[in-house]
């Protein structure tokens, strides 16, 4: 029982800590780092000839938000763009073999 309540307390503490960091305002440096990571992933997708239009759109939105000084939004959108770019890379890599499943025989 005692152990269970300790675990609960720990989980709550972690949640609060997580919540706090999410609430902390993002800086321009945070945006720059997040945007660079997203751009790098999108560049990799480009090398695989498989960029998504949505990645470009969200990257542009992130930049717009940063220009307005809304770095929380800019960081969130940069992270979303990075996730999209990574998904497009995954798609390109897995399709190297997976396309064969659709072929007419």
């Amino acid at each position: 029982m005692r152990e269970a309540s300790m675990k609960l307390a720990l989980a709550a503490a972690l949640l609060i800590a997580g919540g706090t960091s999410a609430l902390a305002a993002s800086s321009e440096a945070d945006f720059k780092a997040a945007y660079a990571a997203a751009e790098a992933a999108n560049k990799e997708a480009g090398a695989l000839r498989n960029q998504w239009t949505t990645t470009a759109q969200v990257l542009a939105d992130a930049k717009k938000a940063a220009d307005k000084g809304d770095f929380d939004q800019a960081v969130a959108q940069s992270k979303e763009a990075e996730a999209l770019a990574k998904a497009s890379i995954y798609q390109a890599e897995s399709e190297k073999e997976a396309w064969k499943a659709l072929e007419i025989h």
């Binding site: 498989n50 998504w52 239009t53 999209l84 798609q91 659709l102």
Partner: protein, 286 residues
């Protein structure tokens, strides 16, 4: 038989089985365009048993009776007619150096659309009609045309018109690079792209005849025979380049540059598997 002999025997049998499996895998990887085209055409003729092979070149109009009636009406005053007139004019107009498109093509460019794209063994790459037209312009000191705009569509419309009824006759020379281009085209056709995770085949093999929003999807078989097309949705003409790039952006993929190697190979594959079906371009689509 003692235990040792039995083990040797079993491992030999296992090795043989592995070899046989290996051989099957290699056979499946062999590129066989003739067998591909046969299977491709059989797939569509079985899926739409009422259609004659030549009906496939009319895309959705062959799959829906109401649309077929509309199309017959439309063909009285076809919307691509202006493009045809413009194409004929552009085709005949001499370049500044006095030469014209006719000097760049076999048979003066008349009745040859069914032979494009072809594999150029000198370049080691696929050459499409759109590419050949621009190369002709550049070789004669003229600026290349946009691959997706009206003048290119008009020129290819006119050239297709002079080939109407002639069966697609795409050749794959005995050159490993040609086979590779064909195989790349096939892979591009079946590869899922874009955020919507669609391949060309998702719409045009798995779902022809079905609706995607208001449109009826055309079968992949014969889909290029009608190119270029006047699309009511575009309020204008569209080339094969325009069709490929817009397909890519519609599935939320960033299109490649028109006439990228991937698109050239895709056109090669898609035209080859429609060999024997008549050219019907220019076409009109909703």
């Amino acid at each position: 038989m003692n235990v040792r002999t039995a083990i040797h025997f079993a491992s030999a049998a296992f090795a043989l089985a592995a070899l046989a499996l290996g051989a099957t895998a290699t056979a499946a990887d062999t590129i066989d365009p003739v067998a591909d085209a046969k299977a491709f055409q059989r797939f569509f003729t079985q899926k739409f048993p009422k259609l004659k092979p030549e009906d496939f070149v009319n895309g959705p109009y062959s799959l829906n009776e109401d649309m077929h009636k509309q199309w017959e009406e439309k063909e009285q005053f076809p919307p691509y007619e202006f493009a045809l007139d413009l194409g004929k004019e552009l085709f005949s107009k001499p370049f500044k150096n006095g030469k014209s498109f006719a000097d760049c093509f076999p048979n003066g460019g008349i009745g040859i659309r069914q032979n494009y794209p072809y594999f150029d063994e000198k370049e080691g790459k696929v050459v499409t009609l759109e590419l050949a037209l621009n190369r002709c312009r550049e070789a004669n000191g003229e600026a290349p045309l946009s691959y997706v705009k009206d003048d290119m569509a008009a020129l290819t419309a006119y050239m297709a018109f002079t080939s109407r009824g002639k069966p697609f006759d795409i050749k794959i020379p005995n050159d490993p690079r040609a086979l590779e281009a064909y195989e790349n085209g096939k892979r591009n056709f079946y590869t899922r792209r874009g955020q919507l995770n669609f391949s060309c085949a998702s719409c045009h093999v798995q779902n022809p005849g079905e609706r995607i929003r208001a449109e009826i999807l055309a079968p992949a078989l014969g889909i290029l025979n009608a190119m270029p097309i006047y699309r009511s949705e575009w309020s204008g003409m569209g080339t094969i380049s325009r069709r490929f790039t817009t397909c890519n952006s519609q599935i939320r993929g960033v299109p490649l540059e028109p006439q990228a190697d991937e698109y050239r190979d895709l056109e090669y594959y898609l035209s080859y598997v429609s060999n024997g079906l008549p050219i019907s371009g220019p076409g009109a689509r909703p």
